[in-house]
């Protein structure tokens, strides 16, 4: 009997903690955080905190679609501020994603080589 209720308690606790994983923010009721205070001091800015819930859902969806390990999506979301989340939700496709130079091949390579020789750009490493 005791064992069964213990088990049940465990199940509830685990379920709750799993639920909690999905919603890492909004722990602090009516407190306005410092970032919002800084945003509010700029006249032109919308307050990211107002739309944070929807934006996080949007970024979560995009992260998943872009191949982020499902086990790490929440960790990555939790480390982003509301302001950053708003920015990603609006234009993740356009923001720079620093990667590598290997993506460039073929004709593009030759064009770049010419530009390099002319000195317009600098992508080929010299020692």
């Amino acid at each position: 009997m005791i064992r069964k209720s213990l088990q049940r308690g465990c199940v509830v606790a685990v379920s709750l903690s799993l639920l909690n994983l999905g919603t890492p923010v909004v722990a602090t009721a009516g407190i306005i955080d410092t970032q919002t205070a800084i945003e509010a001091s700029r006249r032109d800015a919308d307050l990211a905190t107002i739309r944070a819930g929807l934006d996080r859902a949007e970024v979560r969806q995009q992260f998943t679609a872009l191949g982020v390990d499902p086990g790490l999506v929440d960790t990555r979301l939790a480390a982003l501020t509301d302001v950053e989340i708003a920015q990603l939700a609006d234009r993740m496709d356009e923001l720079p994603a620093g990667g590598d130079l290997l993506a460039v091949i073929g004709v593009v390579f030759i064009v770049l080589l010419v530009l390099e020789l002319v000195g317009v750009i600098d992508i080929f490493k010299k020692t």
């Binding site: 890492p24 722990a27 602090t28 009721a29 009516g30 407190i31 306005i32 955080d33 410092t34 970032q35 919002t36 205070a37 800084i38 509010a40 001091s41 919308d46 307050l47 905190t49 107002i50 992260f63 679609a65 872009l66 191949g67 982020v68 390990d69 790490l72 960790t75 990555r76 939790a78 480390a79 982003l80 501020t81 509301d82 302001v83 950053e84 920015q87 990603l88 993740m92 923001l95 720079p96 994603a97 620093g98 990667g99 590598d100 130079l101 290997l102 993506a103 460039v104 593009v108 770049l112 530009l115 317009v120 750009i121 600098d122 992508i123 490493k125």
Partner: protein, 292 residues
Amino acid sequence: MLSATTQPVVELVDTPFFPQRDFQCGPAALATVLVASGVNVTADELVGRVYLPGRKGSLQAELQAASRSFDRLPYPLPPNLPALLSEIAAQHPVLVLQNLGFESMPMWHYAVVVGFDAGSDRLILRSGTEQRAQMSARKFMASWERAGHWAIVVLEPQSLPASAERSRYLEAAAGLEAAHRYDAAARAYGAALQRWPDDTTALLGIGNVNYARGDLGNAESVYRTVLDIDPGHVIARNNLAQTLLDQGNPHAALAEITAARAALSDARLAPLLAHTEDAIRQALRSQERPPP
């Protein structure tokens, strides 16, 4: 271009090097600055934290976010070369975004500037698979400018960047608070107060960190300090009201939120204050209700 620096040659030779693999200059560059700041991590361990497979790259925001996860403060530098050089001179390697292509066909790349030589007008970088890449200041500036002059240092939160500007620094500190890294945020706010005593934003931050840790007594007293300095600080008053409510004093809380709403001139904050007031009025109603 580098001739204006106070020191002719600086190179942070102890900065580690993580040669990048595939498209992963983000994890490599981030590991470089994290390890330099005393974190024990490798580039491979950061791939899952900052790499976006669908974009074959890493976003600037995520490099900053991952730094916070290690209790480090990512500080975006003022967008100019003197600020960058001042950090190198202060022994802080600088993570930069470069556009090695051009405007219409960008090739985004992260690297870490670890030194400069004013004599030969070159910068020294940990970049891609090169441990000691040298780049002329002119070419570096062109690639950096095409990437919006974006650069960060990643520091222990109690140490101020050499190029610290008040509002930039406080925003970075607030990022730690937003990411729930409260101890690190408290250290960053503390450093800000040493440099800029009585800064109400840093004080508000300390109050918020106290509140988040459940230290309501200290939260209350810090919010009151903010209000002593600036009685019209409606955000501190809202937060004081919430704290008083949590301390079981809804009547005092109501007085504060009423004062805050009366003083409010920024409509964007109205829904947040209304939310606090709702919670207070609800508490008052349930107090009035006779026990079942």
